[in-house]
Symmetry: C2
Subunit: 201 residues, 2 copies
């Protein structure tokens, strides 16, 4: 079982009263598949730490179409970092793709902790820095893929990067993550299976 406490383990903050104060703000919530945790337009943004289950964030465009921004399985933190940083209403909605046990906390808690407790617990900043750097790495990779790779290549990249997710998420949602229609993904898969067959003969 992974949780915020464990996330902070190994850092000086882990044993401090500040951490206890922080953890006392954490609410443990059970959400059912399909429930929406955060709506686009919400002013109060939250960060969600997934203990078990699966969340996703997504945007809705003018034509009403959903676009999956990210998936968050066990151990992941999901939030609308952009809207939190810009102190603007949420542009992303967040909902549950499976029954999920999730720890909820104010999304700006990380920044606040860094700013407030840097002096006494400086390595907390390093932890947060690391989280953001990893986020940037996956976003950079995703942008470059969207710029340069065909739908087929993006799908192959997806299944090698997230083999476990591929089992748990419907094709409809994978297609949305890849920026294509479900029909296109269906056709891509039959082509891939065909070529697998001929390659293994």
């Amino acid at each position: 079982m992974i949780d915020f406490t464990q996330y902070f383990k190994g850092h000086s903050l882990a044993e401090s009263s500040e951490l206890n104060e922080l953890l006392s703000q954490v609410k443990l919530v059970n959400v059912k598949r399909g429930e929406v945790l955060q709506h686009r337009g919400d002013d109060a943004k939250h960060a969600y730490f997934v203990r078990s289950g699966l969340l996703r964030s997504f945007s809705v465009d003018e034509k009403g179409k959903e676009h999956v921004f990210m998936f968050a399985p066990e151990g992941w933190i999901i939030s609308d970092i952009q809207s939190t940083a810009m102190q603007s209403p949420a542009v992303l909605s967040i909902d549950a793709l499976e029954d999920t046990e999730v720890e909820v906390i104010r999304a700006d808690i990380f920044e606040e902790l860094v700013n407030k407790h840097m002096g006494s617990h400086p390595d907390f900043a390093g932890l947060e820095l690391n989280r953001l750097l990893r986020r940037i790495a996956v976003l950079q990779k995703r942008v470059l893929l969207l710029l340069s790779a065909s739908a087929t290549e993006r799908y192959q990249e997806f299944i090698t990067t997230y083999p476990n997710l591929q089992q748990r998420v419907s094709q409809r949602l994978i297609a949305s993550y890849l920026g294509i229609t479900p029909e296109a993904l269906s056709r891509i898969r039959v082509e891939l299976i065909k070529s697998e067959r001929s390659a293994s003969i």
Copy 2:
């Protein structure tokens, strides 16, 4: 004239010996339009602070095609954050689109400074955190645009977000940034000018 020193102004580190140590590592370099500052595959990554001129970072795909990842005009810092964070060879190349005066420093200096001097100069972490959050914000926006918007919409978004760049960068490069061909952008512009005309009559 903007530089690293100014970037650090207003933070406690600004007056410290650590900053002087840092600034002594900064090399001021003049690069000519077309010069490549960093090649894909380089092990030593650098961060570039643009004092004047214009840099860009880009990737090259298997077919040899270039894809513009970002532009960096005066006052911007450009680097391959992903490769620096992952301690892997650079995936992005960086070159000059105009004659550029640039301050060069090891790309991992920010992380190192945060880790080393956090105790004595904690607010430096806040500065760096802010830089990363802004980066994430633009990347999130770009991913969502690539997922949901047509080439025309992405172009319109580009010119409203970066009106100054539009003047300085060739259409060829803007097209690359948008993920389309120069021919497609040329046609899009014709259509937009047409519809502007009919709208203003």
